[in-house]
């Protein structure tokens, strides 16, 4: 039996093996290559860049492969997304829908596709899809289902809707007092979406009571606002809550219906310190309370004469300066004056059964021999006041007198300045008279720390009872300076001259009349006095 050498060879097996190998190799390549090719379908090898600033938003091609025209730019405008197909028809339809300047692929520089150096201006000045003023918050470029550029956030999908927000824009008057007629003005702003289809209305409520619902003057565009003024409300004292609600009936479909109302607490005072008119102050608190106090027409006091009878009189700053030939204000209660008063021909007189309260203002009595008289059954509160008198100035109060920091001058020749009060405070004040100055504290101290006093005649500083005279740091210039202290045995009845300048002229003299012994005690308080004595031959009379 002979054996062939290919007994172990099977052409069938060989073919099958070869086929298997071929199929395996080809299949492997096919799987890999087809997968790769499929993956490569949408690959873009372009250097696309976003250039963004406060003035513009641009997409720029800065190298690599060109892109064929097409794809879609999605833009977030005021929070809502808009799709802009990059075709001439798509651009035209978009411009028409939103009222924009029509653009074409050519005007955007894309007529030959998107190649190196081409710039698509989404927002900005010039040939842009949107003007620089548009509220563009983001933009995306998508082509062949591939996102190639992204800037900012995507907008909300669906139908854009307005979003109304209400705030309190103004209140008149800005500070309300009981009895005032108060008017509130609301500001309605449309913050997103599209313009409102209707003129929105605003409901005004105070403490749960509806004052009224008022419609705006028209529709409101995105980013715009309108002010709406509500009905008047008569203020009552206390704490209140104002509630403003825009579109209370939900007549306008909004993107957010939950931000249409605000609550604002506010306070109303009992009385107004500066109403727009003078008034008779019935309750004597110096504040105007409607229903309690009586308003006076301004003309009733600006003519210079008014008598409030047994009540108080208040002339607030809102009245403005008053100039009249004669000024005479009389009141059984207090007189409060917060304006400048000028009497041009005749005297200026304030007669108050209570206090006279001056608000650092200026009182002037012009013309020769034109006196000024301030008479108060109570105190005179005139810190910082400025008084200029051509005649005599006479100030008399049963209570304390405070002219600290004031500037008081009697300017005409041979006219005197006299101030009398239970106690007198002239700290930091300036007194000047053409002749004599007399300051008398009838039942208390006379404090004149830092006083500047100038009188060519006799300047008398008198304490009748109950206190001392303190002119520390004062500059006292007078022909004769008399400091008069009562007979007393207590150390409070002393003259304190620490660091005072007593005389300004070698011919001046000083006389300190002391009925008691207190003034001679208290070592150290005479230091400057002694200096003045040595220099100017002043003498002490006791």
């Amino acid at each position: 039996m002979s054996h062939s050498h290919d007994d172990g060879v099977s052409s069938v097996v060989g073919t099958i093996l070869m086929l298997a190998i071929t199929v395996s190799v080809f299949g492997g390549f096919a799987v890999f290559a087809l997968g790769y090719v499929s993956e490569k379908d949408d690959k873009v090898r372009s250097d696309l860049t976003v250039v963004s600033s406060t003035n513009s938003l641009l997409f720029a091609h800065k190298g690599g492969e060109s892109l064929s025209a097409g794809g879609t730019i999605y833009v977030n405008v005021a929070g809502y997304e808009r799709a802009i197909p990059l075709t001439d028809a798509g651009l035209a339809a978009h411009a028409s829908q939103y009222g924009l300047t029509p653009r074409t692929l050519a005007s955007l520089g894309l007529d030959n596709g998107w190649t190196v150096g081409d710039v698509v201006c989404i927002r900005g000045n010039g040939a842009c899809i949107y003007p620089a003023t548009e509220d563009v918050r983001g933009a995306f470029y998508v082509t062949a289902n591939t996102l190639l550029l992204q800037q900012g956030d995507r907008g909300l999908q669906g139908i854009p809707r307005p979003d109304l927000v209400v705030t309190l824009q103004a209140q008149a008057p800005p500070t309300a007092y009981a009895g005032n007629s108060v008017v509130f003005t609301a500001r309605v702003s449309n913050t997103a979406g599209i313009a409102t289809s209707l003129a929105p209305s605003v409901r005004f409520q105070v403490d749960g009571t509806t004052l009224g619902t008022v419609a705006a003057a028209g529709t409101i565009a995105v980013g715009a606002h309108r002010d709406v003024t509500g009905p008047a409300w008569t203020a009552t004292a206390g704490t209140h809550t104002l509630v403003l609600a825009v579109d209370p009936g939900n007549a306008i479909a909004e993107g957010d219906e939950g931000n249409n109302q605000i609550s604002i607490p506010f306070n109303v005072g009992t009385g107004n310190p500066n109403p727009p008119h003078p008034f008779v102050d019935t309750n004597g608190d110096g504040l105007f309370t409607p229903g309690t106090d009586t308003a006076i027409p301004a003309a009733d006091v600006t003519d210079g004469v008014y008598n409030a009878g047994g009540q108080g009189l208040v002339i607030p700053a809102s009245v403005g300066p008053i100039t009249a030939s004669t000024i005479t204000y009389t009141a059984g209660g207090d007189i409060t004056v917060a304006v400048d008063l000028t009497a041009t021909t005749n005297p200026l007189t304030l007669n108050a059964g209570g206090d006279i309260i001056l608000d650092a203002n200026t009182l002037s009595a012009l013309n020769n021999n034109n006196d000024m008289n301030l008479n108060a059954g109570g105190s005179i509160q005139g810190a910082g006041v400025s008084m200029s008198v051509d005649g005599h100035l006479t100030v008399t109060a049963n209570g304390p007198v405070d002219f600290s920091g004031g500037n008081i001058a009697v300017t005409f020749a041979n006219r005197d300045l006299a101030i009398t009060g239970a106690s007198v405070d002239l700290d930091g004040a300036t007194l000047a008279s053409a002749r004599d100055i007399t300051v008398t504290a009838s039942n208390g101290a006379l404090s004149a720390v830092g006083l500047v006093l100038d009188a060519p005649g006799t300047a008398r500083l008198r304490v009748a009872n109950g206190g001392g005279i303190d002119v520390s740091g004062a500059d006292l210039a007078a022909g004769t300076l008399q400091a008069c202290l009562p007979t007393a045995t207590t150390p409070t009845h002393k003259l304190t001259l620490s660091a005072a300048t007593l005389l300004d002229d070698a011919n001046d003299r000083i006389a300190v009349r002391i009925a008691g012994t207190a003034c001679t005690q208290s070592a150290g308080t005479y230091t400057n006095y002694v200096d003045a004595y040595a220099t100017h031959a002043a003498r002490v009379e006791s």
């Binding site: 250097d47 003035n55 150096g117 000045n125």
Partner: protein, 461 residues
């Protein structure tokens, strides 16, 4: 019975299968290999761009430190191949090619002076004292031009003049005064101009044929020209200097002359920055045109677009041929409009390359750059109250990649919102940035330019 296998050939079957395999492989190679090559070439282009971009920023950092360097970049000219399937690699070249030229021009409109970008309302207060709140003062006065427009000088008593006062910072301050007088001299001339320094009076211009003009025409004189003793005197002063200029006129019979003075000055502040203010640029201009060279990488890709990369003037540009050009790495350029003052400002770093060398083929190329010098110049155009200065100033770039510059300047001006205050135009060889005032867009009253010029030597090997 054995089946008949006479028609079956294992060899034919194998050949057919191999043919099928070869066909499939060929189709695959034709369709897929370019994608692979394009990927590799794109990566290569990005690598070259990054290398050249780093070189640009490294040079600017070198200049900021005033160090010579060098800084270098290695550019692979050959793109790696796709193994087994790509026989020939893509290659490129790198070398010095072409020129980059930047020129500057300025308005001749009337102007006001500025101290640290703040306009000085009264021209008589111009230049003095030039120590601003930031402590920068006049350190060295390089030139000081004054001009005068006079009318009505027709009598011996008539005189229009500019008075200059310079006070230095010596322990006992020195004061230098000079008067430029324009007066009538009855020697056959219509007018004469004399410069008086102390008690010395010299004629600024000869009588005959004076170019300074007759009555009613303007003239300009650089008070620091070497012809006059003032220059050497100022050179000896101790900085900082306080400078005061004032114009005035006196007249007699029969007409009082009127005078309108104009000024221009170039000086260094305490930061060493050259500042130029005034009407036009003093002569000679402290800012000469920038003429430099370009470093160009030119690839010869097989699948990816072959686009040149050009490093010039302080920027890296892509040149895809024709008008298809763009900025790959932005220059140090900032454009802004200050809405409060109405003034525009440009801060721009320009690089001037000089050198040589070209490499092509398969090996890596090395580009080496050395810092040679740097100059800072600040130029302030007039504050144009009428908003009608067009052009206030212009910067003209002449280069083969003018389109890329135009593209970038458009982006920069759009981003800055300059509107018509800055316009970009191209002609056959150049791109020009023109700075205007007024027009559509923001209200612009003038421009201030801060140009930093870096000079560098480059070698490609």
């Amino acid at each position: 019975m054995r089946p008949d296998e006479s028609g079956v050939s294992a060899v034919v079957g194998a050949v057919l299968l191999l043919a099928l395999f070869a066909s499939a492989t060929t189709i695959y190679t034709v369709t897929t290999l370019p994608e692979w090559k394009a990927d590799k070439e794109q990566v290569h282009q990005a690598q070259v761009r990054a290398e050249l971009g780093s070189l640009k920023s490294d040079l600017e950092a070198l200049a900021a430190r005033r160090e010579a360097g060098p800084v270098s970049a290695t550019i692979p000219l050959e793109v790696p191949t796709v193994p087994l399937l790509q026989s020939t690699p893509a290659q490129g070249s790198l070398g010095i090619s072409g020129s980059f030229l930047a020129g500057f021009s300025f308005t001749s409109n009337p102007f006001l002076f500025f101290q640290d970008d703040v306009a000085i309302a009264n021209p008589d207060e111009a230049l003095g004292p030039l120590c601003a709140a930031n402590g920068k003062c006049v350190q060295a006065l390089r030139s000081l031009e004054v001009g005068l427009v006079t009318t009505g000088i027709d009598a011996a008593a008539d005189e229009a003049r500019i008075t200059l006062t310079i006070v230095d910072s010596a322990p006992t301050p020195n004061t230098v005064t000079a008067t430029l007088a324009h007066r009538y001299v009855n020697t056959g001339c219509a007018a004469d101009v004399r410069l008086a320094v102390g008690t010395v009076t010299r004629h600024v211009a000869p009588c005959a044929g004076s170019a300074l003009g007759a009555s009613g025409t303007p003239f300009r004189v650089n008070l620091l020209d070497d012809d006059y003793p003032l220059a050497s005197t100022v050179a000896r002063l101790a900085p900082p200097l306080s400078i005061q200029l004032a114009s005035s006129a006196t007249g007699g019979n029969p007409t009082v002359p009127t005078v309108a003075g104009t000024y221009a000055a170039a000086f260094s502040d305490s930061s060493g920055i050259l500042r130029v203010v005034g009407q036009g640029v003093p002569t000679p201009s402290p800012l000469q045109p920038v003429a430099g060279q370009r470093i160009v990488y030119s690839p010869r890709y097989q699948a990816y677009p072959s686009q040149d990369l050009v490093l010039e003037g302080g920027a890296l540009l892509v040149d895809a041929g024709g008008a298809a050009q763009a900025m790959a790495v932005d220059p140090s350029l900032r454009i802004a409009i200050d809405s409060a003052s109405g003034r525009g400002s440009i801060s721009w770093t320009l690089v001037q390359f000089t050198g040589d060398g070209t490499v092509s083929g398969s090996r890596d190329a090395k580009v080496e750059v050395r810092f040679l010098g740097m100059q800072d110049v600040v130029l302030s155009t007039s504050d144009d109250a009428t908003q009608n200065c067009s052009p206030c100033a212009g910067i003209r770039l002449t280069t083969g990649t003018k389109g890329g510059w135009a593209n970038h300047l458009n982006l920069a001006t759009l981003a800055a919102g300059t509107g018509a205050s800055a316009t970009i135009a191209q002609d056959g060889t150049s791109t020009t940035l023109q700075l205007n005032s007024g027009g559509a867009g923001p209200v612009t009253r003038g421009w201030t330019l801060h140009i930093r010029l870096i000079q560098a030597a480059v070698e490609v090997r």
